[in-house]
């Protein structure tokens, strides 16, 4: 099933789009594996995902660590640490 990838803030700017819908390979175990795989899609992706410590993620709208299991999500968002309020 296709998964909605969402990008925000400078991750969105580096990739050049706010999101994309992709069929994921079956061997991605963690969120970090997904990021590794996405990083190969373009120079923009590689640049956006270069510094892992500066990335945060939400799987189906729940904040998770990058080492969390990916499961079979509908929606994964990748973004910098948040700065609201």
């Amino acid at each position: 099933m296709p998964v909605d990838l969402l990008y925000f803030s400078w991750v969105r700017e580096a990739i050049g789009m706010g999101g994309e819908t992709l069929e994921l390979p079956g061997d991605l175990v963690t969120v970090s594996d997904l990021i590794d795989w996405l990083a190969m899609r373009s120079e923009g992706h590689a640049r956006a995902f270069a510094e892992r410590a500066r990335l945060r993620a939400a799987v189906d709208q729940v904040f998770v660590g990058l080492d969390a299991p990916l499961g079979r999500p509908h929606e994964v968002a990748i973004f910098p640490p948040v700065t609201g309020g």
């Binding site: 969402l6 925000f8 803030s9 400078w10 939400a58 709208q61 904040f63 968002a77 973004f79 910098p80 640490p81 948040v82 700065t83 609201g84 309020g85």
Partner: protein, 147 residues
């Protein structure tokens, strides 16, 4: 009364306060975040994660209502383009006892700073930059986990 709202329109603190007052309890605490007017920022842009933001805020408010037995709680967060002096966020809690209102209000703004998907971009004249997250915000949010 539980109120969670993410909006482009300016925040009206009087209307938000009146909604909390209608709960009929004795104590109301609020926190209002304002775009600082004192550090050269000309505009501030707030990006957020539609759907994900509301879900995160509802989760935080639900936790606060359960933990402190609140009669009412509200988070209203503005997004889009703002100027110095504008309100960015209104957090309000109402409870029978003032300690519950004051603590839960601090809890909500501390947790919002680390757990709700908003991103700020500041413009100073011709230069724009994304605001970096602060270590002190993580520390402030973490203190609510022990107690």
């Amino acid at each position: 009364m539980i109120r969670v709202l993410v909006r482009h329109e300016p925040i009206d603190p009087a209307a938000e306060f009146a909604a909390l007052q209608a709960s009929g309890v004795g104590g109301i605490a609020t926190f209002l975040g304002v775009v600082r007017a004192d550090d050269g920022v000309t505009t501030l842009e707030l990006e957020h994660y539609p759907g994900g933001t509301e879900a995160a805020l509802r989760r935080l408010v639900g936790e606060a209502v359960a933990r402190w037995g609140l009669a009412a709680a509200a988070i209203v967060h503005r997004v889009g383009l703002m100027r110095p002096g504008d309100l960015v966020v209104f957090v309000g809690t109402a409870a029978a006892h003032r300690a519950a209102a004051l603590e839960s209000c601090a809890y909500l703004i501390d947790r919002l700073k680390t757990d709700a998907p908003f991103w700020k971009r500041e413009t100073r004249g011709a230069e724009a930059r994304w605001v970096e997250a602060r270590e002190t915000d993580s520390t402030a949010a973490a203190r609510w986990q022990d107690s």
